[in-house]
């Protein structure tokens, strides 16, 4: 076998890192008096649109924890890495955070693709990842804690509420990738169970900005309810073109599973008013914990900033890790994970707690309507829903 110089260098570097690896600090116990936490989100690239602000929320939580004495007397040392909206980069940065920086936990990832790329690295390096985004479920890694809703926790409650309050005929529209398709797979039998009917199901490519024909199809079918799993910039086009075609919050019930307060200004509040959103958290929720969170966030980042579901989940992720570590009196992975079972937190979204086995949170599904100012007014709140990442359909 002939080795090029580059291959040789790569090989020897790998050998060196494996050889020295175990002799460096044990994980978490870095320099005296601090503990390292990694933040791994996209600060650049296409997904930065959704992820960059999650970093802000996580940094805020870390700052608050440090101000109140840290975790078990240790200050948190934050290491922020940019996943750059590129999945291999996520894996590489996760490896760097775990193997070189020896972080005790990573707060990170937004898209499922980035999480799937990071998962094998985290499992191999025995790291711990807190994942703050609502997603399709169908996963339960021993090394990942999922702090947002999985699909059954929002869509089932949303469909049942819609069937009772808005009408029985549904039109499903989503962006074409795993989350909308899985969500609709759960939605369809739920609609039928609720005595409703699915008139049509449509998927548009990610980033698509032409909705005229889809809107015509909707008009031809006249569904009482539209259930939307459209994501990202497509939503701006979708709502603008709905408005232009004469469908608005007054004459059409539409519930989106991926539109939060954060998207409102880009879409234009005049195009959103009256339409529904289903999330685990709204900025307008009442309660002392939420008041404190919103106030602290605005004080740190500016009064015109808006918080949404993923930000809140990122914020509580840090606290959940702190509480689990303190309960376990250790930063080691098995202890922290074991201590997380049934761990309860008084979060901005209300009291939520980890499931005893499956690493997901018991959560409320909340439905609200957009108001003139871009905020969401809650109209329905479910009781705590048990997470069920592997639903039987």
């Amino acid at each position: 076998m002939k080795l090029s110089r580059r291959q040789f260098l790569k090989g020897s570097a790998a050998v060196a890192s494996v050889a020295t690896g175990p002799f460096v600090w044990p994980r978490g116990a870095s320099a005296q008096g601090t503990v390292k936490v990694g933040i791994l989100h996209s600060l650049t690239g296409t997904i930065a649109i959704a992820e960059a602000s999650v970093v802000d929320a996580e940094k805020l939580a870390i700052e608050e924890i440090n101000a109140s004495g840290g975790v078990m007397g240790r200050k948190i040392e934050t290491i922020v890495e940019d996943g750059a909206s590129d999945w291999p980069t996520f894996a590489e940065k996760a490896r760097k955070l775990l193997d070189r920086d020896k972080v005790a936990a990573i707060m990170g990832c937004y898209t499922s693709a980035s999480r799937k790329a990071t998962l094998p690295v985290v499992e191999r390096s025995k790291g711990l990842l807190y994942y703050p985004t609502y997603y399709e479920g169908l996963e339960m890694s021993p090394n990942i804690m999922y702090t947002a809703q999985e699909a059954t926790q929002s869509v089932i409650a949303a469909v049942n509420w819609l069937a009772q309050n808005k009408g029985k005929s549904f039109y499903l529209i989503g962006s074409d990738y795993i989350w909308p398709r899985t969500t609709n797979k759960i939605a369809k039998p739920t609609v039928e169970k609720a005595g409703g009917k699915v008139l049509g199901e449509d998927y548009i490519p990610l980033g698509n900005v032409e909705f005229a024909s889809v809107i015509n199809k909707i008009k031809a079918q006249k569904p009482e309810v539209i259930l939307s799993t459209v994501v990202g910039g497509s939503n701006v086009a979708f709502y603008k073109q709905l408005q232009a075609a004469g469908l608005n919050g007054k004459n059409q019930a539409l519930l989106a599973l991926a539109v939060s307060e954060e998207e409102a200004s880009g879409i234009g509040v005049e195009n959103l008013e009256g339409f529904l959103s289903c999330m685990g958290y709204f900025q307008s929720l009442k309660g002392a914990a939420n008041d404190k969170f919103v106030k602290a966030f605005k004080a740190k980042y500016g009064a015109n900033r808006v918080v949404g579901d993923t930000l809140e989940c990122g914020y509580i992720s840090v606290y959940l890790w702190k509480m689990a570590a303190e309960k376990a009196k250790s930063f080691e992975l098995p202890a922290v994970v074991a201590a997380s079972a049934e761990l309860e937190i008084d979060a901005p979204e209300g009291k939520v707690k980890f499931h005893k086995a499956n690493h997901h949170l018991w959560k409320h599904a909340r439905i609200g309507a957009f108001k003139k100012d871009g905020q969401i007014e809650m109209v329905y709140e479910s009781p705590l829903i048990e997470p069920n990442p592997f639903p039987k359909i």
Partner: protein, 300 residues
């Protein structure tokens, strides 16, 4: 399917045609006439969109009473800003790469990333909200069941105006003559006294300016964010390549065909399948006509 829906679908086809044509005109000039593969074309459109956003903010602050007419002003400004940027870009960057088409592609792709990050740093990673003027909101309803969105009518009108102006410019003015001369035979044009370097700069700037107009108009339909350009760039290239890279007529007819196909296929299939079918058709068409629908027959 009722008659109303048929009428609205037909209108959608026309609307999509004008959207695609407006997108592709700038690239048709830069790529088609000059042979520069400008991967940053989408970001020039985004620049036009952000110019529109800034214009709306300025009108809101300084002359809220005139907000109704900010859009035409923004379209003109977007053209001006992207024209100037394109001119500077050609002089400082593109002109050194004319003989190296592959390097141009890489360099402009890099430029597109730089521009995206610049937008992100300047305006934030989230989309900004560009308001629709009151006279463009809503729809025209000739009968009960038919509603024609006014914003789409505006884009149809704008495309007609831009198309006519471009036709006049290229075929009826001295500048147009020089541009066509340089594109057909650069050496000979230089020999008879045309300042080819200057013509190159103006042509590139013109293509950029058209991208700016398109980006400005599309704020009425879609989002304005750092990656807005990426939403358009693929469609734009497909339209230009499918039409035949050296023919503006080809660009228009390919925009028309793709627009009609997309509109009806989207109605019959799901959005994703419609897109896949169109790409398949384009691939088959290019297999049999590698130079596109309207290939110029010239001796190389």
């Amino acid at each position: 399917m009722s008659l109303d829906i048929v009428v609205m679908q037909a209108f959608n086809g026309v609307s999509l045609f004008t959207v695609l044509a407006l997108m592709a005109l700038g690239l048709a000039i830069v790529f088609g006439l000059m042979g520069v593969i400008n991967m940053a074309h989408g970001e020039l459109m985004a620049m036009g969109a952000y110019t529109t956003y800034l214009t709306s903010v300025i009108f809101e602050r300084l002359a809220p009473g005139w907000l109704g007419i900010y859009l035409p002003a923004a379209v003109v400004l977007a053209f001006g800003v992207t024209y100037a940027f394109g001119f500077a870009l050609e002089r400082s960057f593109i002109r050194f790469l004319y003989k190296r088409p592959l390097d141009t592609m890489l360099a402009t792709w890099g430029l597109s990333l730089v521009l995206q990050q610049a937008f992100r740093s300047l305006f934030g990673p989230r989309e900004v909200g560009v308001p629709s003027p009151a006279w463009l909101a809503g729809a025209w309803q000739p009968t009960q069941g038919i509603s024609i969105p006014l914003s789409r009518l505006f884009i149809i009108g704008l495309t007609v105006v831009v198309g006519c102006a471009l036709y006049q410019l290229l075929l009826r003015t001295r500048w147009g003559l020089r541009i066509r001369a340089v594109m057909q035979n650069r050496d000979m044009s230089g020999a008879v006294g045309v300042n080819t370097a200057r013509v190159d700069a103006v042509t590139f700037a013109l293509g950029s300016g058209l991208a700016g107009i398109a980006g400005s108009a599309f704020t009425m339909l879609a989002s304005t964010g750092p990656v807005t350009g990426q939403q358009y760039i693929v469609d734009t290239f497909i339209v230009v390549v499918f039409g035949g890279v050296e023919s503006l007529l080809g660009t228009f007819s390919s925009a028309f065909m793709i627009g009609q196909m997309q509109s009806w296929l989207e109605f019959a299939l799901t959005g994703s399948m419609a897109k896949a079918s169109i790409l398949l058709c384009v691939i088959i068409a290019l297999y049999f006509r590698p130079a596109g629908l309207f290939a110029l027959k010239v001796r190389r």
